[in-house]
Amino acid sequence: MDFLNTNTGQNNFNNPNGGHTAVYIDDRPMNNVEGRMTVSGSLMQNIGEPGFNTLDEPIKTTIMRDLKAVGMKFKHVLYLKEKNTLLKEWDLWGPLMLCTFMAMVLQASPDSIQIGDGGPEFAEVFVIIWIGSVIITLNSKLLGGTISFFQSVCVLGYCLLPIVIALIVCRFILIFEQTNFLFFIRFAISIGSFLWSTYASVVFLGDSQPQGKKALAVYPIFLFYFIMSWLVLSHTV
């Protein structure tokens, strides 16, 4: 009878207006359920989870919060003020977005095998980015680094952001008639983004290496971003 009544529990039986069902839907969390949920919630809060409940909020709020978290991490890559957010609350959404975007822009179109650029295919860019960051992470673990696997993959993925920005700018420049001057600008942008990405990831990951091995862990990162910038610069169609 009153299955639509989401708000009340036992109180309804004591309702003086018997027979009248109060049908209203409330977004506010139920008190008795809330009481039980906070038990696990308080456990989560111990490891740094903020005090919200994902079960009874609109899905839009959930998605927006995740998007905001990804946006904040992008901001940290560009500003390099504090590095705990990126390291402690790692996620792979940002890397997935950047990687998919790069793969879509850089891929050679299927009819361009004869005349176009002999660029990489979608899957090749995808594989280079993911396998590349996995190899770099394994390398740093093998050298005795203390960082966890997904933290490192997350940082390497997020630090692709300057290169993605360079790709967007270069893509825009490619609209115009190509001259030596414009090539020089694209060259400078690629080099700049490469240096920025390398510097950012070294800031995030540099502390995790044992003494005397830092250069050995940084060199693969350098090589990885160098290759990505080469792909950006070589992309001409």
Binding site: A108, D117, G118, P120, N139, L143, G144, A215, L216, L223
Partner: protein, 233 residues
């Protein structure tokens, strides 16, 4: 004396544990098991690369640099660097050749990466394995391990990184001079490191190693940097 023996009788569980701590045994599927192959510092790697780039006469490279602690870091990253330096500068060389005639639309060849990777990793990783198995079969007292041969081949290839960048310059005699210099230096490092371990009649093996090495150096140059006259027209 009595105290000593009493203590010794009590101690075995205690004294056996410290001996286990310095040499922990990790199963093969863990990362820690492989850490022993990456146990080098930045200075070690720089020294080893320097030793391979500028070999000193009369110094056995393998004895001097590698024998104490062969690593996998150097061979792996030198090979990967070489793959991309050859692919990138091969593309630049191709661009320079094409830029001369304006009507031809230049396309960059990303797939040079995969062919370079196949060639280099076959040469630096598979060839030492085959060489090791072959020499071991012919000369059972051959005392080098596969790891040492891999390390030797990997580090000796490091001279081709600067050479592959210089190959961009499109002067025929300079390119061939660089081929000669590269194969000579790295071949010297390899041959004179292996020779003492080859036993009484080393010359057949050395001949084989040298031929393969010459073939590798010439192959890189011709395949990635040299445009035959037919394509130019």
């Amino acid at each position: 004396m009595d105290f000593r023996t009493l203590e010794n009788e009590n101690l075995p569980p205690l004294s056996s544990t410290p001996t286990e701590v310095p040499l922990p045994k990790y199963p093969i599927w863990t990362v820690e098991y492989f850490q022993k192959y990456f146990d080098v510092t930045s200075e070690d790697v720089l020294e080893r690369i320097k030793g391979a780039l500028i070999p000193t006469y009369g110094v056995n490279y393998l004895q001097r640099y590698i024998r104490a602690k062969p690593d996998v870091y150097g061979p792996f990253w030198i090979c990967l660097t070489l793959v991309f330096s050859i692919a990138i500068s091969g593309n630049v060389a191709n661009y320079i050749q094409v830029a001369a005639d304006h009507d031809y639309h230049w396309k960059y060849n990303f797939h040079a990466v995969s062919s370079a990777a196949t060639a280099i990793f076959l040469y630096a990783w598979l060839l030492p394995l085959m060489l090791w198995a072959f020499v071991k079969y012919k000369e059972p007292q051959f005392n080098l391990s596969y790891l040492e041969l891999l390390c030797l081949y990997g580090y000796s290839l490091s001279i081709f990184v600067p050479i592959s960048i210089l190959w961009v310059i499109q002067i025929n005699w300079l390119q061939w001079l660089l081929v000669a210099a590269g194969t000579l230096v790295s071949g010297y490092v390899i041959v004179f490191s292996i020779m003492p371990s080859l036993g009484q009649k080393p010359f057949a093996f050395i001949f084989l190693i040298t031929i393969l090495h010459l073939f590798m150096g010439t192959g890189f140059m011709l395949y990635f940097f040299h445009v035959p006259p037919i394509q130019k027209s």
